[in-house]
């Protein structure tokens, strides 16, 4: 009798074990359970660009309840700190892919680490959402299949639209202030490449050391060169403030002064309304429109403060939504090929009311395009709040 009971117990245990194994092993992966996706979130949790991590993780956090109610998809987040270093990012991504067996990678936030991990993710074959990093080369247009999807604009698109604005008058004399860091250098190189391709010339190019106190000598040279359109490509709002103060100091009042979106990081707090009166930057997102402000308000309500980079929050939210929609369509996050294909074939993506029709194709994994008619000119009102001036194509 006892022997029979033991046999029953052993048999029962074996059956339960087999059943559990069958449940957990969908598609040979232990990473997810149908509409529950295990996401590897990688960014600079520590180090100089920590705020990018904050916005990356908060963008996902804000998206989670929405994608759950819209698609029934839930995220299980696996975090990794790349410390803003390509080397560390490389190691962390290997861990996420091979040990944590995540279903998708979100990040890294910065271009350097993203470029470092691009080949690894492509080789492994896992949906890769690039919500913030803007270097062109991250998305390899000829990769087949292409696992990377960018929900921010890339640098060369931004430069093409910026050049369109700066040379609105064909005889405009354009000068560029660019940071001595990778961000500034890359913008300068891209603008040079644009001018070469379009038969334009840059009247003056001045490097700005990050954190410089005074760049009035550079502003004076720009004035001497007869510059009529100024482009400021520096990586902090503080450096933007230093440049516009210098323009005022030497009495240079260009017809057009264009900054990049980095001007959102603390610029108005360090400058005066007179400094930003004629300053604008260009964005493929309407920063004062409904979808964007809705998300910023939710951010403020949840975290009690303004985002440092609202754009990064929005583009990360967009990435989460795009991915969840694809997972819902496939019905299983562990079917990576099918999820990738579903993202590539997205018919319509609705982000808080903003609609993107057929945003991707096999050859195009960029959400935004370099079409000036779809970009916005953003400025600041006297209180320092962003205000939409109009579409870039409208001049």
């Amino acid at each position: 009798m006892v022997r029979r009971r033991r046999l029953l117990a052993v048999g029962g245990a074996a059956a339960v074990t087999l059943l559990l194994a069958a449940c957990g092993g969908g598609g040979g992966s232990e990473s997810s359970n149908g509409k529950q996706a295990k996401i590897g979130l990688i960014g600079p949790k520590s180090g100089a660009a920590q705020f990018y991590w904050t916005e990356l993780s908060r963008g996902i956090e804000l998206a989670q309840p929405d994608v759950k109610s819209a698609f029934g998809v839930t995220f299980d987040l696996e975090e990794a700190d790349d410390k803003g270093s390509p080397e560390v990012a490389s190691r962390s991504v290997q861990t996420l892919l091979n040990e944590e067996n995540v279903d998708a990678i979100f990040g890294p936030s910065q271009s350097g680490p993203s470029l470092q991990v691009a080949e690894t993710i492509q080789r492994t074959g896992r949906p890769w959402l690039v919500p913030i990093a803007a270097a062109d080369q991250i998305i390899a247009p000829n990769a087949s299949p292409n696992w990377a999807f960018r929900t921010n604009n890339n640098n060369s698109d931004a430069i093409a639209v910026s050049a369109n604005y700066l040379w609105a008058k064909p005889d405009a004399k354009v000068g560029i202030f660019y940071g001595a860091d990778a961000y500034g250098q890359s913008n300068n190189d891209l603008l040079k490449a644009y001018t070469k391709a379009h038969g334009k010339t840059i009247a003056a190019g001045e490097v700005v050391q990050p954190g410089a106190t005074d760049v009035s000598p550079a502003a004076q040279r720009m004035k001497n060169a007869g510059v009529t359109s100024v482009f400021i490509a520096v990586s902090t709002g503080a450096d933007n403030a230093t440049v516009v103060k210098a323009l005022k100091q030497v009495g240079l009042a260009p017809e057009r002064t264009l900054a990049t979106a980095t001007t959102l990081t603390g610029f108005t707090a360090l400058a005066t309304p007179a400094d930003w009166k004629n300053l604008v930057f260009l964005e493929p997102r309407d920063l004062t429109g409904g979808p964007f402000t809705t998300l910023v308000q939710r951010y403020q309500a949840k975290y009690g403060k303004q985002p440092t980079s609202a754009v990064a929050v929005f583009t990360t939210y967009t990435a989460a939504y795009l991915y969840a929609q694809a997972v819902a369509k496939v019905g299983d996050a562990s079917k990576h090929d099918e999820v990738r294909e579903a993202m590539e074939n997205t018919g319509q993506l609705k982000i808080l009311g903003q609609v993107f029709d057929k945003p991707f194709s096999a050859k195009d994994h960029e959400l935004y395009e370099a079409d000036p008619s779809s970009w916005y000119t953003i400025g600041f009102d006297p209180q320092g709040r962003t205000t939409t001036v109009g579409k870039v194509a409208q001049g």
Binding site: S46, F51, V207, Q209, S216, G266
Partner: protein, 290 residues
């Protein structure tokens, strides 16, 4: 051109003030605080924290920040530098400690405060000051006047007061000074506190212009150290010349060439001066009996 010269001189005054801290501690202890840039950053964050205290006037806020950093300077000397004194001229562990402290503090500031530039919220004068011959940002003019006043005040303290006499005695021969009742270690502690606190007041006026952020240290440290070396380590008046030479060289080379040339021109000037006068422009020649 005169305007650019004045901007260079104004920034040079800030370098001179921070260099004065190096000079003070080098005279009295033979050591220097390479974490002074991060001390300045801490002072700026303290000032930022005090920005909302409406009843405290702006100068008082700066003084409170300076006093707290002065206390920090004294504590660092007492617990991290003093243990390595009197163990021979070749014991440079104080240098490793201050460099490590600098790295530690900047990481702590980045991770606790974030890396964004934030407005200090007070001690800021907008606009341009028209001097007739040139225009200068009012904030830089204010900073220059305050820094210059502090450099001169410290130099007078060292050369004209009892405390200064004790500092000089310790500088010349610490052991003999102790034999006549001067507490050399206490003198060192005062030097660290004074150098750190004064730097906070001057640098805060610069930070009010460019924003509060954790990475101010490296921007100030190299230039201030260069100013101290040009003037001659140990010369309380030399730092003023050192700061002005460095600031003006940097600015004018930026005017004549570009920011890249400007940023290295001051350092080239340091090398050139050291080749001609290895002890700096104003350091007194030390005669050592062997």
């Amino acid at each position: 051109m005169i305007g650019q010269l004045l901007v260079g001189a104004a920034i040079g005054c800030l370098y001179a003030l921070i260099a004065q801290g190096f000079t003070l501690t080098f005279r009295t202890t033979g050591t220097m605080n390479f974490a002074v840039g991060e001390f300045v950053a801490i002072g700026a964050f303290v000032a930022l924290g005090l920005a909302g205290v409406a009843w405290l006037p702006a100068p008082a806020k700066l003084v409170v920040a300076a006093l707290l950093v002065a206390l920090l300077g004294a504590l660092v000397f007492r617990f991290l530098i003093r243990p390595f004194l009197n163990r021979g001229a070749h014991d440079v562990r104080w240098l490793l400690v201050t460099v490590a402290l600098s790295m530690l503090l900047v990481d702590m500031l980045r991770n606790s405060q974030g890396t964004q530039h934030r407005p200090m919220g007070f001690a800021k004068a907008d606009g341009l000051l028209d001097l007739g011959i040139a225009r200068l940002p009012t904030q830089l003019a204010l900073m220059a006047v305050v820094c210059l006043a502090l450099v001169v005040a410290i130099a007078l303290l060292v050369t004209r007061t009892g405390l200064g006499t004790r500092m000089q005695a310790v500088a010349e021969d610490a052991e003999t000074a102790e034999l006549v009742g001067i507490d050399a270690r206490r003198t060192g502690l005062i030097s660290y506190a004074l150098g750190s606190g004064a730097a906070v007041i001057g640098a805060s006026l610069w930070i009010a212009y460019v924003g509060v952020f954790p990475d101010v240290g490296p921007l100030l440290l190299v230039s201030a150290f260069a100013a101290a070396v040009i003037g001659g380590l140990g010369s309380v008046w030399g730092v003023l010349a050192g700061g002005l030479i460095f600031g003006v060289t940097d600015q004018m080379m930026t005017v004549w060439f570009d920011a890249t040339v400007g940023s290295i021109a001051g350092l080239v000037a340091v090398i050139a001066i050291l080749v001609v006068r290895p002890a700096g422009l104003f350091a007194q020649r030390q005669e050592v009996k062997v």
